[in-house]
């Protein structure tokens, strides 16, 4: 997804002369073509994440459209107050694109993990929050929302799902599979692969947006949710404030009846002190096909 990020940024700077890319000393090699072709609109601002956000806000005040890029915890968590005050409160047009999703940097330990970025971003009024599941999805969401004013957050992960034909756009909730069973799984990101592989008899819905849904998607949610179904949300983010809370909020705001049961499967409210690889963490947390199957069948 990081390669696609570089291509999408290049296309955007080429198309819009007010687009500018600010990086926190990462991805410079990937962006070398952008740096070569648009030197005045490529700025590596070093390890100054808080000021990078403020600086982006200033550029936006002058009518530019900054894209901010660095590793998730150093942007979202270190510079949260800047994102809150300089960008969200002032309602300025900026796009934040992070890498180092959840435990993508597993071996580097907790300082480099970020499970709560989506949760934090969701607390900010006006912030659109996207978790694309594939490179193509990122490219589509980014370009389709580029002209929309206000702040946006894009969480990029190393792993992608393999169901690109879903072609899920921004603010869409799409039906992957419908079943007559009473189980409804709602998933985002690459974990869609694990859900499908789990082979659980369930309706499966997928989204890449965690801030709002369009009318068609709300209609789908209303059609699927009733008092007899068991809803499971599955995400690679903290269960505090992530996809599960977003979906349950949407259900409570839009559906006529509540589901029979609700279960959030994601990253529990714990420090993940282990190292290893991202797969090891998924295995440990049950964010796998067999783990998903076990949870759903238990209910």
């Amino acid at each position: 997804m990081r390669l696609q990020f570089a291509k999408t940024v290049y296309d955007t700077l080429k198309k819009d002369d007010q687009a500018v890319i600010l990086i926190g000393d990462i991805s410079h090699y990937l962006l070398r073509e952008t740096e070569n072709d648009f030197p005045s609109r490529f700025h590596n601002l070093g390890i100054c994440e808080q000021s990078m956000i403020g600086l982006a806000a200033g550029m936006s005040i002058e009518g530019m459209k900054p894209i901010i890029h660095t590793i998730a915890p150093f942007c979202v968590e270190r510079a949260f107050e800047q994102i809150k005050i300089d960008i969200s409160y002032q309602n300025l047009t900026t796009s934040i694109i992070t890498v180092g999703s959840s435990f993508d940097y597993a071996s580097l330990g907790c300082t480099h993990h970020c499970y709560e970025d989506v949760s934090l971003m969701r607390t900010l009024p006006g912030m659109q929050v996207f978790v694309p599941g594939t490179s193509d999805e990122f490219d589509r969401i980014f370009k389709e929302t580029w002209e929309e004013p206000g702040p946006k957050y894009f969480k990029l992960s190393t792993k992608e799902h393999h169901h690109g034909s879903l072609n899920c756009g921004p603010r869409e909730l799409v039906k992957v599979r419908e079943s007559s069973s009473k189980n409804v799984i709602i998933v985002n990101g690459h974990l869609l692969d694990e859900v499908i592989e789990s082979n659980v008899d369930s309706t499966i819905l997928y989204t890449n947006t965690l801030s709002s849904l369009d009318e068609k998607s709300i209609d789908l949610l209303k059609k699927i949710i009733n008092s007899e179904v068991n809803v499971f949300t599955i995400e690679e983010n903290s269960v505090i404030g992530g996809l599960g809370d977003f979906i349950f909020h949407m259900i409570s705001e839009t559906c006529e009846s509540l589901p029979r049961s609700l279960k959030k499967l994601g990253i529990p409210h714990l420090w993940l002190n282990n190292y290893g690889k991202a797969e090891d963490h998924r295995e440990n947390l049950g964010l796998t096909a067999s783990g998903i199957r076990m949870i759903v069948e238990k209910r």
């Binding site: 700025h43 403020g54 600086l55 806000a57 200033g58 936006s60 005040i61 800047q82 005050i85 002032q90």
Partner: protein, 250 residues
């Protein structure tokens, strides 16, 4: 002190007394700086008050320049007022940036200056910060970035009212900004409009941002406040105090 500056101070004190709100000591120290910048700025310039708690000084200055109505000024801190305890750019566009939490204005000013450079736009960006605010790490990140980006359209003015001497003094501000490769000048009396004008008359720089460290007095113009600046950091005058302070300014 000229009559306009006295009148701005009177507006600060009467508004604070009326609404029981505002940081008057910090507002009184920065009057000359804000008056000079707003009176002399063009439509291409931007002036940011990063030490947003001195908002009452900003509002009183803009009122004296007829950019804020009397009605708006006396609505200060009312529930639906456009003028709060800290400036909000979406309610008062002249504020340019919404400030309050310290250390936010200068990074925003750097961004505005950079955008102006990219788009070859005229005008300078002025950012007023406090000496206490200079404790914040973002001030020094921004100082580093602004000189790295060679932003000679950026001017930082420090309202050095020594308010931080009770905790962690950010001493040697001139030397510090010089070491960050800013063209830096000390204004020995930052409550003298003439001295500010003189310092700014030689304003020119190539390839480096500029900084003016203006030595000011917290509570300037009201001796009682100047003598007890910590009590008056966030306190409004009673009717008796107000009449004594107004007499001081007469």
């Amino acid at each position: 002190m000229n009559e306009i500056l006295k009148s701005i101070r009177k507006k600060i004190l009467t508004t604070s007394a009326l609404k029981k709100a505002g940081h008057i000591a910090s507002s009184l120290s920065v009057v000359e700086i804000l008056y000079f910048l707003h009176k002399n700025s063009s439509k291409d310039d931007r002036v940011i008050l990063s030490k947003g708690h001195a908002s009452l000084a900003l509002y009183a200055v803009l009122n004296s320049l007829q950019k804020i109505s009397d009605k708006d000024l006396i609505s200060f801190c009312d529930f639906e007022s456009i003028l709060g305890g800290h400036p909000d750019r979406n309610k008062l566009p002249a504020a340019v940036a919404s400030t309050g939490s310290l250390g936010h204005g200068l990074p925003i000013a750097v961004g505005i200056a950079l955008a102006k450079k990219i788009n070859s736009q005229n005008g300078k960006v002025y950012c007023v910060i406090g000496d206490g605010e200079s404790n914040e790490g973002t001030i020094w990140e921004s100082a580093l970035l602004a000189s790295h980006l060679k932003l000679d359209n950026l001017v930082c003015v420090i309202d050095d009212n020594d308010s931080q001497n009770r905790s962690v003094t950010t001493s040697l501000l001139v030397e510090k900004f010089k070491s960050f490769r800013w063209q830096t000048t000390c204004i020995e009396d930052g409550n003298s409009l003439e001295e500010i004008e003189r310092a700014f008359s030689s304003l020119s720089s190539q390839f480096s941002p500029m900084c003016f460290v203006a030595k000011t007095k917290k509570g300037f113009g009201v001796k009682e406040i100047q003598r007890d600046i910590f009590t008056w950091h966030h306190k409004s005058p009673s009717p008796d105090e107000l009449s004594r302070f107004m007499e001081d300014l007469s």
